[in-house]
C-alpha cells in the first residue's frame, strides 16, 4: 500500500497511446491545481510577505504590518545561527546513519529474500509497521528507554560504559538517534524498490570478470541502486531538517539541542513573532531547495522528479 508511493519512478508510461489535449484534461486538472495554488502556493507567498513585516507602530504585542524590513533576516541569522547549523548537521548525520543502517536491510529484503516471498512480505510489513503507531508515542518510548532511571541506562552505568552522572536524553546523540529511527522506513522503502528490481546477472557478470565482491558492490550494485539512494536520502533529509518533535525538550532533546523547527514553532505559536518565524521558514526552504536541486543534478537522477 504505502509502498506504491515510492515505486513510481520506474513505472512504464503509456505516452504513446495518450490522447490529444482536451477540455476533459482541463476539467480533471483544474480543481486540484486550484486547490494547491490556494493552499500551497499562496501560503508560501504569505510567508514571504510576512517575513518582511515590521511591528505596527503603537500596535499590540504580536501585531505587524506589511513593510520591507529585510533586517528580519539578518536578525534571525544572528540570533539563531546555532539552531540553523545544528538542524542541517543533525539532519545530515541522521540521513547518513539511516542510509548505512537501511542499505544492508533493504538489500537483504530486496535481493536475498527473493526466494522466500513470505519472508519478504513479513520483513516489509515490519519496516512500515512504525508508521502505524503514533510518531509522538514511538519517540516518547525511546525517551523512556533512555531515561536516567531506565533499565538500559542504569545497566550501562553499572558496567561503567556511561559515567555515573551521564544523561542520554537531552543530548545530540538522542536527537540524532530519534531522527534516524523515525526516518529509517522512508530510507528503506525506496532502497528496497530499486534493489528489488536489481538484475543479479549483472553482479554475476562482474564477478566473472574477476572483480572482488567489494568492487562489484561499488561499481555495479551502488550505481544501479542510485535512484533509491537519492529518493531515500531526500525523503529522510528534508523532513529531518524541519523536524521539531525529536529535538523538543519534552521528547528527546534538551536546551542545547533545539533545531530550526523548534524556533519557528516558538516564534509562531508562543512568542507571536510571526516575521521571525516566517523568515526562518523561508531560509529553511531555500537552503533545502538549493541543496535538493544541486544534489539531484550531481547524482544525475533528474528524471526521478
Amino acid at each position: 500500500m504505502a509502498l506504491a508511493a515510492f515505486s513510481t519512478s520506474n513505472a512504464p508510461t503509456s505516452t504513446d497511446t495518450s490522447r490529444k489535449s482536451s477540455p476533459v484534461a482541463l476539467f480533471l486538472l483544474l480543481p486540484g491545481i486550484l486547490y494547491l495554488v490556494l493552499f500551497f502556493l499562496t501560503p508560501l507567498v504569505s510567508l514571504l510577505l510576512t517575513s518582511f513585516k515590521a511591528p505596527t507602530e503603537f500596535g499590540d504585542f504580536g501585531e505587524f504590518s506589511y513593510a520591507f524590513r529585510w533586517e528580519n533576516y539578518a536578525d534571525v541569522i544572528t540570533t539563531y545561527w546555532p539552531h540553523i547549523i545544528r538542524s542541517f548537521g543533525y539532519a545530515l548525520a541522521a540521513t547518513f546513519f539511516a542510509l548505512i543502517i537501511s542499505y544492508p536491510l533493504a538489500y537483504f529484503i530486496g535481493v536475498k529474500a527473493r526466494r522466500w516471498p513470505l519472508l519478504q512480505s513479513l520483513a516489509l510489513v515490519m519496516v512500515i509497521a512504525p508508521f502505524f503507531i503514533s510518531f509522538l508515542l514511538r519517540t516518547l518510548a525511546w525517551k523512556q528507554i533512555f531515561s536516567d532511571e531506565s533499565f538500559l541506562v542504569t545497566s550501562l552505568k553499572a558496567m561503567s560504559v556511561l559515567a555515573p552522572d551521564a544523561h542520554v536524553t537531552g543530548t545530540a546523540f538522542s536527537v540524532i538517534f530519534g531522527l534516524t529511527y523515525n526516518f529509517i522506513p522512508f530510507m528503506t522503502l525506496p532502497l528496497y524498490t530499486t534493489l528489488e528490481r536489481l538484475d543479479v546477472r549483472y553482479l554475476e557478470a562482474g564477478s566473472d570478470l574477476y572483480a572482488s565482491p567489494f568492487h562489484v558492490f561499488r561499481k555495479v550494485t551502488i550505481p544501479l541502486s542510485m535512484p533509491g539512494i537519492v529518493a531515500g536520502t531526500l525523503l529522510t533529509f528534508i523532513p529531518a531538517a524541519g523536524d521539531y518533535i525529536n529535538a523538543s525538550r519534552e521528547f528527546l532533546g534538551g536546551t542545547g539541542t533545539q533545531m530550526i523547527g523548534n524556533v519557528i514553532e516558538a516564534n509562531f505559536l508562543v512568542l507571536q513573532n510571526f516575521p521571525a518565524g516566517a523568515a526562518l521558514s523561508i531560509l529553511l526552504m531555500s537552503v533545502i531547495l538549493v541543496f535538493v536541486s544541486f544534489y539531484v543534478k550531481k547524482s544525475g537522477t533528474e528524471e526521478l522528479l
Partner: protein
C-alpha cells in the same frame, strides 16, 4: 568455513535491525496494560482496565482527540483522493502544455518541510483573518495529501492497458460508461492504496496540525500537550488499537494480493 559464517551475517543483521524497529511499538503496547497513575512511566502492575475504560480518563479527552483525528482524516482523505486521482488520470492520459512544470509543481509540497507548510498556512490564515479550527486543519491535511495521492494513483494509471478502454468504446460504451465500468474498477486498488496512505498521513500528522488547529485537539496534539505532565496509559491503548487495525488491513491486502497473483498465474 569463512564462507558459511559470512552467509549468516546479512540475515542476522536484518533480523536485529527489524527487531530494533519494533522496540517502541512493543513498548507502547506493553505499557497500555500498565496500571499507571497520572503518568505512565514506571511499570506498576498488569491490568485490562485502561483498555476497558479508554474514554473515562480526563473527561474523555483521549477519545475526543481520537474522534477529531478520525473525522479530519476521513474528510481530508475523501477530498485529497478525489482531487489527486483526477490529476493523476489527466497527467498520464493527456498531453498538454506545461506538463513537466506541473509535475515539478506537484512534487514541491512533498519536498517542502512540514514546518514550512504549516507556518505558511498559519501566516495566510492570520493575514486574511480566518480563525483556526477543524476546517483549517482539514484544508491543511487535504493540501499535503494531494501530491502523495497523485504519485500513488499515477503508478496505477500507467500500468492500465488502454486497449481495455478502447474495447469498451468499440462496443458503443459512452465515455461515462467506459469510465465507470472499466477505468474506475481497474484503478480502484491504486485509489484505495492512495486513500489509505492519505488517511495515515492525516491521522498521524502533528507538525502542520499544530500550526493550524487553534484550540481543536487531535490525537497527536493531545500527546504533545500531555507529554509535559505525563501521558495516560489510555493514549497507549488508542495507539495500540489503531496499530492492530492497520496491521490487519495491510496483512489482508497483502494476502488477497498474493491470492490474486496465484489465481492469475494458474489461468496463464
Amino acid at each position: 568455513m569463512k564462507h558459511s559464517i559470512g552467509k549468516w551475517v546479512l540475515p542476522a543483521y536484518s533480523a536485529l535491525a527489524l527487531l530494533i524497529l519494533m522496540i517502541p511499538i512493543g513498548y507502547t503496547f506493553v505499557y497500555s496494560f500498565n496500571d499507571s497513575l497520572k503518568s505512565n512511566i514506571v511499570w506498576r502492575s498488569f491490568t485490562f482496565d485502561k483498555w476497558l475504560n479508554v474514554c473515562n480518563v480526563q473527561n474523555g479527552a483521549v477519545c475526543e482527540a481520537f474522534g477529531n483525528s478520525i473525522f479530519i482524516a476521513v474528510v481530508s482523505t475523501v477530498a485529497a483522493t478525489t482531487l489527486g486521482t483526477m490529476i493523476a488520470i489527466a497527467m498520464v492520459r493527456y498531453r498538454f502544455k506545461f506538463r513537466s512544470q506541473l509535475s515539478l509543481f506537484l512534487f514541491l509540497p512533498m519536498a517542502t518541510p512540514e514546518v514550512v507548510l504549516g507556518a505558511g498556512l498559519a501566516a495566510q490564515f492570520l493575514s486574511i483573518g480566518v480563525p483556526k479550527d477543524m476546517t483549517t486543519i482539514i484544508l491543511a491535511h487535504t493540501m499535503f495529501s494531494i501530491s502523495f495521492v497523485v504519485v500513488a494513483v499515477k503508478a496505477r494509471v500507467a500500468t492500465l492497458d488502454p486497449a481495455l478502454e478502447e474495447a469498451g468504446r468499440d462496443l458503443y460504451g459512452s465515455a461515462l460508461q467506459v469510465f465507470l465500468r472499466i477505468t474506475f474498477p481497474l484503478l480502484l486498488p491504486g485509489i484505495l492504496a492512495a486513500a489509505l496512505l492519505s488517511f495515515a498521513l492525516s491521522f498521524d500528522d502533528f507538525i502542520i496540525t499544530n500550526f493550524n488547529s487553534g484550540n481543536v485537539s487531535t490525537f497527536p496534539k493531545y500527546i504533545w500537550i500531555s507529554a509535559a505532565r505525563g501521558i495516560p496509559a489510555e493514549a497507549n491503548v488508542v495507539a495500540s488499537a489503531v496499530f492492530i487495525l492497520a496491521l490487519v488491513i495491510v496483512v489482508t491486502v497483502q494476502v488477497s494480493g498474493a491470492a490474486r497473483a496465484k489465481r492469475l498465474a494458474k489461468i496463464n
